[in-house]
Structure formats: structure tokens, C-alpha cells
């Protein structure tokens, strides 16, 4: 294949494959420039129509040249660095996810600055230099590998040197300043409230992290994001070989690549003339410039200019072979060419400005949407606001940078001297032409990647649609991988044409983040696996692991679920653990229970307001169980309250609710009762807690704590003692969650393992996990908040009237108990269930119905099973359930529909074991 590289263009060779064929490019190429250099014209088939498509643009606005490579499902050939061995496959609109894992690393960086400049073109560099000169902390972010914005595309000179050289020097100088950070290959893709911007830095496969997200909070922002060249809709405008004029110029000047041999240039404005000059100088024959205006721009001597003409047809099924041009009063001409360069003018890149909440206004002079009013602290400079001359961009950027720095509180320092630029040619005003009128619009493409034509848009308007948002959705224009960078405004213009409305009235569709596609894993960063959510473990964790316990996730905590012995399954292990506690003694790691130290002269008063029962009457040295409700009267949490001193309590919470309860306390204290003198402090992690339960627990404790009087009279139920256990300072609470004689031994977290090993060292204690704890408490009818309650359950529903104070004038939730619904007699009550078949384990979550035959749905439910276990001590399965009017149904037979079966159960008290509480004292 012919090389289309300019003679004498130097570069280190790079080998690559595309669609299974081998090619060679040079370092610095993109995949697109390398393909063009190899004369590859057709790079994809269009998604819906299967038409051949070529490279159309030179950067992120490219609609056609989509590829996949390695694990990357979709990328634009125009932004993909050519690397040795790259093996890319063209895509037809849809990417393919790889089964191979992504092994790259991703990071996020937080940054703060006084002035963030987005874009390192002439305006951005001038802005950054002007701002940096004041001493302001500046970040300048640019999405390309080479600085200069359009300068490397246009090869204009700045300060007497080639523009790209000036840009590189200026950026290097900026980078050398202590308070300036230069981010190359970094796309700012989102602009959020309070000047919070997010950017992705592409560091490459060899970097420690392949990509990084920058989360930038800027006092002031300067957007110098440039402009995109506008396409024109005409018949056959999707043929390979049709290309934006400025992009062709970029391939020539940046990469030394000639996208064709003989070109027709179709333009509405002067910029394409410069493109034609550069391409001609590079060796492309310019067959003609077709200018829609009546007055020509400044063409090179000898170039034919057809003013007042448009392109009406493009010949060549597989790529441009000829271009037909028409002009009023002229005979149509078919011009032989393999390249058709198009320029419909330039659209300022207002995406980020619009994301920032800025309003757009239509500028009649440029025929484009430009920034209007905005509330955030942002300046827009250069082409991004419709300034299209080099000198103008430098001046505009410098002024914007200076204003931004001043607004951020910096006084003018080293003035930035605007460099000399060549004198501009006098410009002819641009025409605004969006589409070439025709009888048939079937190949006038508006969105190349979505295969949307002017005919499609007209069908939408013909169906009655008036809003560009509707037309976008009807046609899918602007929804492809290129996010409508080229098609967005064009679609609006075509709608305007169809409806006879000015573009200004139609506006654009909304510009949404991200400006460029950003990888899922880039955004997920390090928050994956164990870091997706922190893991919390107790100080005894290693022992549980060593003992082979499977773990249950409870909130962020890992809790040992049960401790299987060789050959045991979970059921066998739990039955054995339960038996041990009921007949001998067992121990459980209870360290995850939330613990809050409540101190202050008004602590007792405070707890009286929070809990449904009375806490102020609790004596120092004693413990009380308590329930908290939300103001709506529904149970929120439960636990024990121990009184350490007149002005000090230790409150325990459920494992999952510890943070919520502390937040709850602080909220009431700070916002409702700031006059109460109380502090609340989480001490959950301060303590390791070992629950010792079973008739043998007293003896075990006595052995470990020789200084403690453990007899029932000296150490009664619901009291606590400070003592030494196994030689460790300990607080022992005589409380029970199993109905058995039991103690909770609390020691400093760092002593936890020593305590546990001492307990286990007695040789008589069986370790048990959360499952056994659940069975034991259920046998006693103790509910678990969150399992036997669901946010719709009152203390009375749980059969806990006794925990609701009748004496206190108020507590949180009290008023709600008097509402119509909370005093209904048929509310769901917590009851016990015994299956008729004592071997039948009901699934938790199963529902109850009244009759032994099931009518057609919908069948009203009476309630559901909240807890269900096999009980060693009952010799039967059993369950707890919330059942409508349950307390009035004692002894009733109800049914649990399971598949086609209706399983009979008998309603019982929720307290199934030791209802008298005889076992409490051992």
C-alpha cells in the first residue's frame, strides 16, 4: 500500500495490526494517523446501515473510527496512541467486553487550586501564565499528549517560533513554578457545583496506575477548551475520504500524513483556505475550493475557487472518487478527487460551561452557541467563546487568567507579555450553512455513528415533534460514543430548517458529564474488594479464624457464625453448641455490640427521654434492658444500660445500629436539648466482650476471678462488678441473652485474646457463634431488632408493654402509640410457632394464612416467620412470627404455604423455653 507520509518525515517505526493486517507507523502517531499514513480509507462499517466509513476527524470528536484492542471494548482510533504491537479490531458501533480481567491499577487524587485552566492551547496557556504570574496556585489540564491545542494542527508561529515549540516552552516554564501543576493527557470531563471538577489522567499501561481521577476544587476556573469544526449535511457526506478540513490539516502538520492525493474543499468560511494551503504545501493537490459564499477567501495562487457553490453529490461507493458541485447559474460539475474536506465553521466547546450551569446564547456572527450568564466562578476564553484568531485567543486567555487570579484574591504580579503572532489576513464573514438542500435526504448524514440522516430528522418533525430533545430520542442522534460532539448542534439546525425556526429558538440538547467516556474501573479506583467497604474485626478474630469458624457479615463486622468440628455441618455444630450452653457452658465473642459512654449531670434525664422505659431510677451498679423508638413509635434499637455512676452510663446497642444510635443521641442532644449537660462517646472498639453462658458459667468465672464473689446473692442478675478476670482488669455484667445463668466479661480490647484464651484454657467451655446465640435467644422469645422487627413494629407488638413506661410524661415515640393504627387490636404480634411436624423447619420469611386450602390470589397474609430454628432443648423445630392479632390466637392452628403444600403450625407464646425464668440464676 502506498505510504501517505510526507517525504522526509522522521520517526521511530512502530509495528501494529489492524483488522488482522500488519502495518507500520511512527512514534507519535495515533492509530488513526498511522492508518491514514498506510492509505487505509475504510476503517469501519456504519452501525445500522453497514455503509463503509473512514476517518472523519482527528481527536475526541471522531464518529467513525472505533476499535477494540486487548481488554478495551471501545476506543477511538483518533485518540489512541500507536504503541508497538497494538492489535486493534474495527467495531461496528458496538464494543465487546473482554472476559480477561483488567489487571491495571487506578487511583484518585484530590487537588485544590486558586485557578484551574482547562486546555493548553493559546488561550489556556496565556491564561495559566497570566494567573501564575500573580502567585496564584494554578492547575492547567490538557487532554492531549502534546501541548498547544490547535497550534500543532495549524503550524502557526507564536513569538517568532513554531507554535508547538512556543507551547512546549511555555508549559515547561509553567511546570517549573512551585505553585503550578501541569496535567497532560488529562481530560476534565465533569463540572459540578461549587467549582468541583473531575478529570481523568491517562498515564499509560506502564505507569503505576494506568489512569487517575483528579478531583479538583478550584476557586476560579478558566475554560479554554477550544472549538470543534462543524460538519455540513449533504448527499453522501459519510463516504470514506470525507473529512473535516481542520482535521486533515492536523494530520498533515502533526503527523506528516496526507489523508488523500487530490482534494476538494467545501467551506462556508476562511479557515478551510488555510487548511488547503497547508495541505497543498504538504503535497495534496487541491482540485477546487467550493465556497458557499459569494466572496472567496484568500486562496493560494492557482487554486480554483467556486464561490456560491455547494457539494451536491459524492461519487465512489467505497470512498470518495469524485465530487459533484452546483452553483446557481452554473452547470453542475463533477470533479475527480479522493478527498473531500468540509468546514461548516466552528462550534465553541461549551460542554463544561454548560455543565457548570452556564446559560448558552446564540451568536449570530459565528452562527454558534456561546457562553452566556453563569453563577459559578468561571471564565471562558478563546475559541470556547467564539474568538477564532490566534492573537485574539492569546489576549483573551491572558485577560481571563488575570481576572480569575484577581477574583481569587491575587494581585497582578509579573505581567504576562502576549507574544507576537503573524499579522492576520483580513477575514471574510463566514456563512452559516448546515445542510445542502435536496429532493432526497436519505444520505445527508447528521449523526454518522448513529446513522441518522436529515430524512430521519424530518420524519421526526413530520410526526409532530417540536423539541430537539424529542427528535434526539426519536432518531437517536447524539447518543453514540462520540456523545454528539459533531452531530448535536447540527441536529438542532436541521430541526430548525425543517420547522422554519431559527437555530437560536431551538437551542441544544443538554450537555452531560462526562465530556469524554471514562472507564468504570477508573472511577471505581481503589474502592474494590475488601476496600469496597471497610472490614471490621474484633480483637479475637485470629482465634476464630484459626478455629475454622465461617463468618457472617453483620454491617461491616465479620462475626464467627459457628465453629464446626471435623465432620460437622452447620446444623450439627449449632445443635452441639446449643446443647453445651443449655447443659454446661459456652462462650461467645460479643465485642461487636455497640457501646456508648453517656456522661454528664443530665445523663439520666437524657436516657429517660430516649428510652421507652425509665433509666433515671436505675441504681449505680445495676443494669437495665431498654428499647428505643423513633418518634413514629416503631422500635429502633434495644440493648442494655448499665449505670456506672450518678452521672455516667454505658449503653449497648445492636451490632449493626451502633453508629446510628450514637448519631441519634447526638442529634437530639445538639438540636433539641442543647441545655442537657451530656456527652456521648463511642467506646465500642475500647472493649473486648466475652459472653459466658450456661449453668456452668459461675464455676468457670469463679475459677478465673478468684477475687469475685459470684454467688447469686452477692452478684445478682442485672448487676455489674469491676474485678480481675484471668489477671486482667475486667468489668463483669450479669446479663443473659440465652435465659441461662450468664456473664459478659469486658476487658480492654488489647486483653481480649488473653481473656478468651484463658476462658478456653479451662477446657470446659464450648465456643459458640452467632447462629447458636440466635437459637438460644429465640427459644426465650427475645427479639432481634432488624430480624424480628422491620421498622413497622412497636414494643407492644413485641409483647413488651412492660418496657414502656406509664409514668414518664413523654419519651420519643410515646405520642405515636395513641394513633389509630398503632392501637389497632389486629396489629401483628410476636408469637411462637410450633410446626405440627416437629422435624419441619419453616423458612424464615414464610407467610401464614388462616385456612388449610389456599384460595386464588391475592391471598391476604396474616404475617410472616421472622426467626426459625431447630431446637435441641425443645426437641423440635420452632419459629417466631409476627402474626395479625397473634396474642389472641394462642393454640390456633395456622398454615404456612410452601410451594404446593400448606404446613400446619400451632400458635404459641413467643417464650418457648423456661417461661418462668428458672434457669437465670443457674
Amino acid at each position: 500500500m502506498t505510504s501517505r507520509r510526507m517525504a522526509g518525515w522522521q520517526g521511530e517505526p512502530v509495528r501494529f495490526r489492524f483488522d488482522g493486517r500488519d502495518y507500520e507507523g511512527v512514534r507519535g502517531d495515533t492509530l488513526a494517523s498511522a492508518l491514514l499514513a498506510n492509505g487505509v480509507r475504510t476503517v469501519a462499517a456504519s452501525p445500522a446501515l453497514g455503509r463503509p466509513r473512514g476517518i472523519y476527524a482527528a481527536w475526541t470528536e471522531e464518529p467513525n473510527a472505533l476499535v477494540r484492542y486487548g481488554v478495551e471494548p471501545m476506543a477511538q482510533a483518533t485518540t489512541l496512541d500507536l504503541t508497538e504491537g497494538l492489535d486493534a479490531t474495527s467495531l461496528r458501533g458496538r464494543g465487546r467486553l473482554s472476559e480477561e480481567p483488567d489487571t491495571s491499577r487506578y487511583d484518585a487524587v484530590h487537588a485544590h487550586c486558586d485557578v484551574l485552566v482547562v486546555g493548553a492551547g493559546p488561550a489556556g496557556l496565556a491564561a495559566a501564565a497570566a494567573a501564575a504570574g500573580t502567585g496564584a496556585r494554578v492547575i492547567i489540564a490538557d487532554d492531549r499528549p502534546v501541548a498547544g491545542g490547535s497550534l500543532p494542527d495549524t503550524a502557526e508561529t507564536v513569538g517568532g517560533v513554531p507554535g508547538d515549540e512556543w507551547a512546549a516552552t511555555t508549559l515547561a516554564e509553567l511546570g517549573g513554578r512551585p505553585d503550578v501543576r501541569v496535567l497532560s493527557r488529562t481530560s476534565v470531563f465533569g463540572y459540578y457545583d461549587d467549582n468541583y471538577l473531575v478529570a481523568v489522567e491517562r498515564r499509560g499501561a506502564d505507569a503505576y496506575s494506568r489512569e487517575r481521577v483528579w478531583r479538583i476544587r478550584a476557586r476560579q476556573v478558566v475554560l479554554a477548551t477550544g472549538a470543534h469544526e462543524r460538519p455540513i449535511a449533504f448527499a453522501g457526506n459519510d463516504r470514506p475520504g470525507v473529512m473535516l478540513a481542520g482535521s486533515a490539516r492536523a494530520y498533515a502538520n502533526r503527523h506528516g500524513v496526507l489523508p488523500g492525493a487530490r482534494a476538494v474543499v467545501f467551506t462556508t468560511n476562511d479557515s478551510a483556505y488555510a487548511a488547503a494551503r497547508d495541505l497543498a504545501a504538504a503535497g495534496v493537490e487541491i482540485a477546487a475550493i467550493v465556497d458557499t459564499r459569494d466572496t472567496a477567501g484568500h486562496a493560494q495562487d492557482g487554486t480554483e475557487v467556486l464561490t456560491g457553490h455547494v457539494v451536491t453529490a459524492v461519487g465512489g461507493d467505497e470512498g470518495v472518487s469524485s465530487v459533484t458541485v452546483s452553483g446557481a447559474g452554473h452547470v453542475d460539475r463533477e470533479i475527480e478527487a479522493d478527498l473531500l474536506l468540509v468546514s461548516g465553521g466552528w462550534n465553541p466547546l461549551v460542554h463544561l460551561f454548560s455543565q457548570a450551569g452556564g446559560e448558552l446564547r446564540h451568536d449570530d456572527a459565528t452562527g454558534s452557541f456561546v457562553p452566556g450568564p453563569v453563577r459559578q466562578a468561571v471564565e471562558v476564553a478563546g475559541a470556547a467563546r467564539g474568538v477564532f484568531t490566534l492573537a485574539g485567543c492569546l489576549e483573551d486567555g491572558a485577560a481571563a487568567g488575570a481576572r480569575a487570579a484577581e477574583a481569587a484574591g491575587f494581585r497582578m504580579g509579573d505581567a504576562f507579555r502576549i507574544p507576537e503572532t503573524p499579522a492576520e489576513e483580513p477575514a471574510e464573514p463566514a456563512a452559516h450553512l448546515w445542510l445542502v438542500e435536496a429532493a432526497d435526504y436519505a444520505t445527508h448524514f447528521v449523526d454518522l455513528q448513529r446513522d441518522v440522516t436529515v430524512a430521519d430528522v424530518m420524519k421526526a418533525t413530520g410526526a409532530g415533534l417540536r423539541s430537539v430533545e424529542h427528535v434526539k430520542r426519536y432518531t437517536t442522534a447524539g447518543t453514540a460514543h462520540d456523545q454528539g460532539k459533531l452531530s448535536g448542534v447540527l441536529t438542532s439546525a436541521v430541526v430548525g430548517h425543517a420547522l422554519g425556526l431559527p437555530l437560536a429558538d431551538l437551542g441544544t440538547t443538554t450537555f452531560r458529564a462526562p465530556y469524554v467516556p471514562v472507564g468504570f474501573s477508573t472511577l471505581a479506583g481503589r474502592d474494590r474488594g475488601a476496600l469496597h467497604d471497610p472490614v471490621r474485626t474484633t480483637s479475637l478474630h485470629e482465634w476464630h479464624v484459626a478455629y475454622g469458624a465461617p463468618f457472617e457479615n453483620v454491617g461491616q463486622w465479620k462475626r464467627p457464625w459457628y465453629y464446626p468440628r471435623a465432620g460437622e455441618d452447620m446444623e450439627a455444630a449449632v445443635l452441639r453448641e446449643c446443647h453445651a450452653v443449655r447443659t454446661s457452658v459456652g462462650a461467645m465473642d460479643a465485642s461487636t455490640l455497640g457501646k456508648i459512654d453517656v456522661q454528664g449531670p443530665d445523663a439520666a434525664e437524657f436516657l429517660d427521654r430516649l428510652y421507652t422505659n425509665m433509666m433515671s431510677t436505675l441504681k449505680v451498679g445495676a443494669i437495665r434492658y431498654g428499647v428505643m423508638c423513633r418518634p413514629d413509635g416503631m422500635v429502633f434499637d434495644d440493648g442494655t444500660v448499665i449505670r456506672l455512676a450518678d452521672d455516667r452510663f454505658l449503653v449497648t446497642t445492636t451490632t449493626g445500629n451502633a453508629a446510628a444510635v450514637l448519631d441519634w443521641m447526638e442529634e437530639w442532644l445538639q438540636t433539641e436539648w442543647p441545655h442537657l449537660r451530656v456527652y456521648c462517646t463511642s467506646v465500642t472498639e475500647h472493649w473486648a466482650t466475652v459472653a459466658l453462658a450456661g449453668p456452668g458459667s459461675r464455676d468457670v468465672l469463679a475459677g478465673l476471678a478468684p477475687g469475685l464473689a459470684v454467688d447469686a446473692a452477692s452478684f445478682p442478675f442485672m448487676t455489674w462488678r469491676d474485678t480481675e478476670v484471668a489477671g486482667l482488669a475486667a468489668r463483669v455484667c450479669r446479663i443473659s441473652f440465652s435465659g441461662e445463668l450468664a456473664y459478659e466479661i469486658n476487658v480492654n480490647a488489647w486483653d481480649g485474646l488473653a481473656l478468651w484464651e484463658a476462658v478456653m484454657g479451662t477446657g470446659t467451655v464450648t465456643p459458640y457463634g452467632t447462629e447458636t446465640m440466635h437459637v438460644l435467644r429465640a427459644e426465650k422469645g427475645y427479639p432481634i431488632v432488624g430480624q424480628d422487627t422491620d421498622g413497622t413494629v412497636t414494643p407492644a407488638d413485641l409483647g413488651m408493654d412492660w418496657v414502656v413506661s406509664k409514668k414518664k410524661p413523654d419519651f420519643i415515640g410515646k405520642r405515636s402509640f395513641a394513633r389509630a393504627d398503632t392501637s389497632r387490636p389486629d396489629r401483628k404480634h410476636l408469637v411462637g410457632l410450633l410446626p405440627a411436624d416437629p422435624g419441619r423447619l419453616l423458612p424464615e420469611g414464610a407467610h401464614l394464612v388462616e385456612t388449610g386450602t389456599l384460595p386464588e390470589p391475592p391471598v391476604p397474609t396474616l404475617g410472616h416467620v421472622t426467626s426459625s430454628y431447630r431446637s435441641a432443648v425443645l426437641g423440635s423445630t420452632f419459629a417466631l412470627a409476627l402474626v395479625s392479632g397473634g396474642r389472641d390466637r394462642m393454640g390456633e392452628e395456622l398454615y404456612v404455604p410452601l410451594g404446593d403444600e400448606l404446613v400446619p403450625v400451632t400458635v404459641t407464646s413467643h417464650i418457648l423455653y423456661d417461661p418462668e425464668g428458672a434457669r437465670r440464676d443457674g
Binding site: 464494543g95 459540578y192 446513522d451 421526526a460 423539541s467 474501573s521 471505581a524 474494590r528 469496597h532 391471598v859
Partner: protein, 405 residues
């Protein structure tokens, strides 16, 4: 390959000038407003109806949701209205004569903790009693339904199982709205865009008219269907609603070859994702916590969403976020809607659908039309009255629905 979508009808709706008076004015031209207008005309023969839309038709949450349709709600009251909706969805394409791309590809709701499992099984059993198709799947069965879900035990919150509703699925939201709009317009309903209601006129305890940016429009009945803006409109009639307005974000990836055959939702890991007809992954994020009418969420919510998505779907690692957006949703204290009468005669309200409004579209349209036609609620929306907040008879769907509708 041909174009991705079936052809649209050649005619959708016209844009008439508003008349000075209508029997019924529906405030809000989203899915609910349009469906209500359609069923008013079709079921009740009431066609002197205007649907007033402040922007472009179906441009609010109807254009911004993740298009999930399911009826596997916990409580009987919810199952009633959502299952009614699902049954209507099943015949809607024929009913409207519009290709709405309703795809019953099933929805998985994953469970990641023992408590999740209990709640999920509870919902499955409740659903079956209500005639809602529901199954409990083991992790292995989850893998069979959706092979790309990581069900290995070493993820942070392993998949312990899932509920599965095979009849659930997705539909093309815009087409649903346009189908209702077209059919309603064909029966004489006026669809009026760029017409913002700025006030509701009340005299003697009875609604009289609405004030709009296109003039006063008198009405016998004013039915609100304004989602996130319900409070603002109702307040002009002196009616307070127990709703708070929040941004809810969603995103899509680039178009990808099919990898994801169903819909997966996870409350614990905060993901809901499907792959739309064209091939893009459609994902919903968590709700932004503060009240806001700005259709813009915060970016860290999206970042958290990505981290959650990759926990469950490692294959998504190199997919790209192409577009993000936000709707503004009206959230009630019990995560259930308010549909019914207000203290003002002739002023009806339909709001509080939070993150779950799309799937209810035909069901709520049906019931709300009944409520408008009869002046009192349909049995299916009767439980969703304003009064429930006074009696305490809430329909608390937090536990089973959480954020991920």
C-alpha cells in the same frame, strides 16, 4: 444489520393551542400524566382533558429513569397496584399500537447478608400469595440466570441468593410515553407543551382553574402528576404534601455486544443494571441525600456506583461511562406513593413515587383516571391516601425496596 429500533408511527401528536377551560386538567405531561389522560378517555369516555407540561412531553423522570418494570413488592397494597400495572404492561404494546420494546427478561434482586436473605424470602412468599411470580434462587441459580454476576464467596459482600421475577423486565421509556401520548391525543386529549402551571386557583374549598405561563385555564378537576414538583404546585392551592424532592442519578455506557441477559438489582451493594436494547448498560445510582430541584447530582455518588458495579460484575471493568444525568424524585416517609383526594374539592394528587414511578405507569394511570372520573379512589390506590400519615397506617416499603427500585 438494519436499524436497531422498529419504525415509529408517522404521526405522534399535534400541539394545539390551549382552550380556556377543560373538564379535567392534568398537571404534568410525564408518563403518569399521559397514561392517566389515556385511561380517562379510554375507560371513562372523558376526553375534554388537557395535559399541561412545563417543558417537553415526558422530559422529566420519564426520560431519566432506568426503565425497570417489576411488581415484586412486599406489602399487599403495593403488590396490588404494581401487579395491576405489570398485567397492563403485558398487553400495552397491542393496546397502544406502539412498539414499546417491553422485554420480560426477569429481574434479580440480590441478597448479600443473612438479613437480606430473610427479607428476600419474605418478599418471595408474600409475592406468591399475591399472585406475583417470584422465586428464590441460590447463588448457583443466579449464575445460571445471569452468568456475569460474580457469585464467588470472596467478594466483600458475597451473593447469598436472589429473588427472581421472570415476568419483570424493561421497556423503552420514551416510546411508552409517546404511545400513551399518541393514543390520548387521537381520542381528543390536548397535549400542551411549554405550559407551566404557576398556580392552582381555589374558591370556597373547590378548585377553579390553573394559572399557567400560557394563561388561565379553568377546570372541573385538577389532577397533579408533577413528580418532583408536586409540592410546589400543591402549595399554591394551600395543600401540603409529605414529600421531599431529591436528585437521583443514572448513567449509560457505550453500546456493547450483549452480555447481560436480565436485570440485576442489589440494595446492599447499591447497584441496579440492565443492558438496553441497543446494547448500552443502563445503571442507577443511589439517591443524593439532600433536597434539591437541580437536576444534577454529585459525582462521588457515581464513583460509588462504579465501585459497587465492579464488585458484582468484574466484566464491566473496562466499559465506559458515556452519559450521566439526574432526575428529581419525590420521596415520602414510607417510600410509598400518595394517590387520591386532597382537602381541596376537585384537586387530586398523584406523587411520592420516589424512585419507582416508571414501572407503575399504566397501573397508576388506570387507577388515577378512575379516581378522577369517580371523585374517589380506585380500591387499588385507596391504601395510598394522604390520611394514612395521620392514622399511621403506612405502607412501609423501605425494607424491601430501599433505594433500588
Amino acid at each position: 444489520m438494519t436499524k436497531d429500533f422498529p419504525d415509529h408511527p408517522d404521526w405522534l401528536w399535534s400541539s394545539p393551542e390551549p382552550r380556556r377551560s377543560y373538564d379535567v386538567v392534568i398537571v404534568g405531561g410525564g408518563g403518569h400524566g399521559l397514561a392517566t389522560a389515556y385511561y380517562l378517555a379510554k375507560n371513562h369516555g372523558i376526553t375534554d382533558v388537557a395535559v399541561l407540561e412545563r417543558g417537553w412531553l415526558a422530559g422529566g423522570n420519564m426520560a431519566r429513569n432506568t426503565t425497570i418494570i417489576r411488581s415484586n413488592y412486599l406489602w399487599d397494597e403495593s403488590a396490588g397496584i404494581y401487579e395491576h400495572a405489570l398485567k397492563l404492561w403485558e398487553g400495552l404494546e397491542d393496546d397502544l399500537g406502539y412498539p414499546i420494546l417491553f422485554s420480560q427478561r426477569g429481574v434479580l434482586n440480590l441478597a448479600h447478608s443473612l438479613q437480606d436473605v430473610r427479607e428476600s424470602v419474605r418478599r418471595v412468599h408474600a409475592n406468591r400469595l399475591n399472585g406475583v411470580d417470584a422465586e428464590w434462587l441460590t447463588p448457583e441459580e443466579v449464575k445460571e440466570v445471569c452468568p456475569i454476576v460474580d457469585v464467588s464467596p470472596d467478594v466483600r459482600y458475597p451473593v447469598l441468593g436472589a429473588t427472581y421475577q421472570p415476568r419483570a423486565g424493561i421497556a423503552k421509556h420514551d416510546y411508552v410515553a409517546w404511545g400513551f401520548a399518541r393514543a390520548a391525543a387521537a381520542m381528543g386529549v390536548h397535549l400542551i407543551e411549554n405550559c407551566e402551571v404557576t398556580g392552582v386557583e381555589v374558591a370556597g374549598g373547590r378548585v377553579q382553574a390553573v394559572q399557567t405561563t400560557r394563561g388561565r385555564i379553568a377546570a372541573g378537576t385538577v389532577a397533579l402528576a408533577a413528580a418532583g414538583h408536586s409540592s410546589v404546585v400543591a402549595a399554591t392551592a394551600g395543600v401540603e404534601l409529605p414529600v421531599q424532592t431529591h436528585p437521583l442519578q443514572a448513567l449509560v455506557s457505550e453500546l456493547l455486544e450483549p452480555v447481560h441477559p436480565t436485570v440485576v438489582m442489589s440494595n446492599a451493594v447499591h447497584v441496579y443494571v440492565s443492558q438496553a436494547h441497543k446494547g448500552e448498560l443502563v445503571m442507577g445510582a443511589g439517591i443524593d441525600p439532600y433536597n434539591s430541584y437541580r437536576r444534577r447530582g454529585a459525582f462521588h455518588i457515581i464513583e460509588q456506583q462504579m465501585s459497587a458495579a465492579l464488585e458484582l460484575f468484574p466484566i464491566f471493568a473496562r466499559a465506559h461511562v458515556l452519559r450521566t444525568w439526574a432526575g428529581i424524585v419525590d420521596v415520602t416517609p414510607d417510600a410509598s406513593p400518595v394517590v387520591g383526594t386532597t382537602p381541596v374539592d376537585g384537586l387530586l394528587v398523584n406523587c411520592g413515587w420516589g424512585t419507582g414511578g416508571f414501572k407503575a405507569t399504566p397501573g397508576v394511570g388506570w387507577c388515577y383516571a378512575h379516581t378522577i372520573a369517580h371523585g374517589e379512589p380506585h380500591p387499588l390506590n385507596a391504601p395510598f391516601s394522604l390520611e394514612r400519615f395521620t392514622t399511621g397506617a403506612l405502607v412501609d416499603e423501605h425494607g424491601a425496596a430501599a433505594v433500588a427500585h
